[in-house]
Symmetry: D2
Subunit: 140 residues, 4 copies
């Protein structure tokens, strides 16, 4: 695991539900904030990858384990790291904290797709950023 990126923000009132805690789907929004930040720490903007290269990260899978509730105005820290990557897909992992407490852990698997949402390969220039080894030439 490479060093995780960290991003911080406060729980919004809109994110709570009538149970008095954060609604569970919002953790997936927080994971998205984490991976956008991780991209920046890896050396590129996700926004530019979409706009300039027409490469999108379509979510294929998500898993999240909820350990403790988050409450309005809590300061949340999302730690995000690359769990796996190749030219077809990438796996991000997340730990969501409030101070010392781990609130949730999770992961998302994404495939690279074009603007038309068809599967595509990651352009070569992103290989080092995602820590992907260049493909070996197969010679006889």
């Amino acid at each position: 695991m490479r060093d995780p990126s960290e991003t911080r923000f406060r729980v919004r009132y809109a994110e709570t539900d009538q149970m008095g805690v954060v609604y569970y789907a919002n953790y997936l929004v927080w994971m998205e904030i984490g991976r956008v930040e991780l991209c920046k720490s890896l050396g590129f903007n996700y926004r530019d990858m979409e706009r300039d290269d027409g490469i999108y990260l379509a979510v294929a899978d998500v898993a999240c384990r909820y350990r403790a509730p988050a409450r309005f105005d809590d300061e949340i820290t999302v730690k995000t790291w690359l769990e796996d990557a190749n030219k077809r897909l990438v796996v991000f992992a997340y730990e969501i904290h409030c101070g010392d407490r781990v609130l949730a852990t999770g992961s998302t698997r994404h495939v690279f797709v074009s603007r038309q949402l068809e599967r595509t390969r990651l352009p070569d220039k992103y290989y080092p950023l995602f820590g992907i080894s260049p493909e070996k030439l197969v010679t006889p």
Copy 2:
């Protein structure tokens, strides 16, 4: 005012907040449901207008008055009607009900824009659907 369209749905848990009632921004989502339904009752799909004609409704203004709270699992009725329309803009008005009670009233003003979000004119074929009179020929 033409006859309003009506659409019905139940309050989602996700829409509540820790006050135990629906979070105020969700009423704007409900207005959107209302105007999509109104378009259908007027004879076209908003989806097709975007996709086939490249015409989008950009919101210019919204106002909402909240009269009574909505709660999880309440059955909501949104009544929507055209308040005004011309080739440049359209105004929708809304009444949001739960049974006999009016929960909220509001309106949105929209301008027609292109895919690039530049102001544009509504294509002629939509005039009768929006109740817009054909433009008079200017003759000497």
Copy 3:
């Protein structure tokens, strides 16, 4: 597996993102709609269980696999069924469809908690509704 409940609704504009498809966190909202509907088909209202018995379903885990994108105004069907239940926890499973296509599959695991979010047991009266066998008397 008991017979799944089915619930239908249309994709809201608010649920799309700039990729032109439904944002991934919204599938968890749709799962919630599915399990509220399942509760009704099992013979009780989730709202009443919270209000009258002070029993809440805290999400412990979620997993979702995304197979095909959902688009604005698509008619979505959520099939929901009980995968497992005992006096401490319940597992729901979901299939999300658009017409014949499966868009996503997933599951959520929940623990029963009190209003103060402390773990609790499901009251006996809900046992038959969740298909839980009454506890055996332990006799010497």
Copy 4:
């Protein structure tokens, strides 16, 4: 007008819609972030006011004018100030910026309510924080 408070954050992917810009209801969420921050700058936490004093701010009205679209990853600044306040209600005003551009302006009117959502008076200790003059003694 007192000095506005300012708060900054980046646009989340979740906040965009298929038009490629931020969905209009999210500006109301941003207003909420602004007023939570304003409360802090006035000397109290909205969270504590709810929890310790049982005073809630129920939204009675909102108006928003949209001037320019916000896009994913834009850095947003929300300026918030008290427009009016008395023991029964408070009006907040907002300007939402991206760099030099004003994206939106708006206001919200709130009434003070109890946990049971009944209208109530603001406790005296909050008068100076909201800039409310103490009530004059009526003497013969």
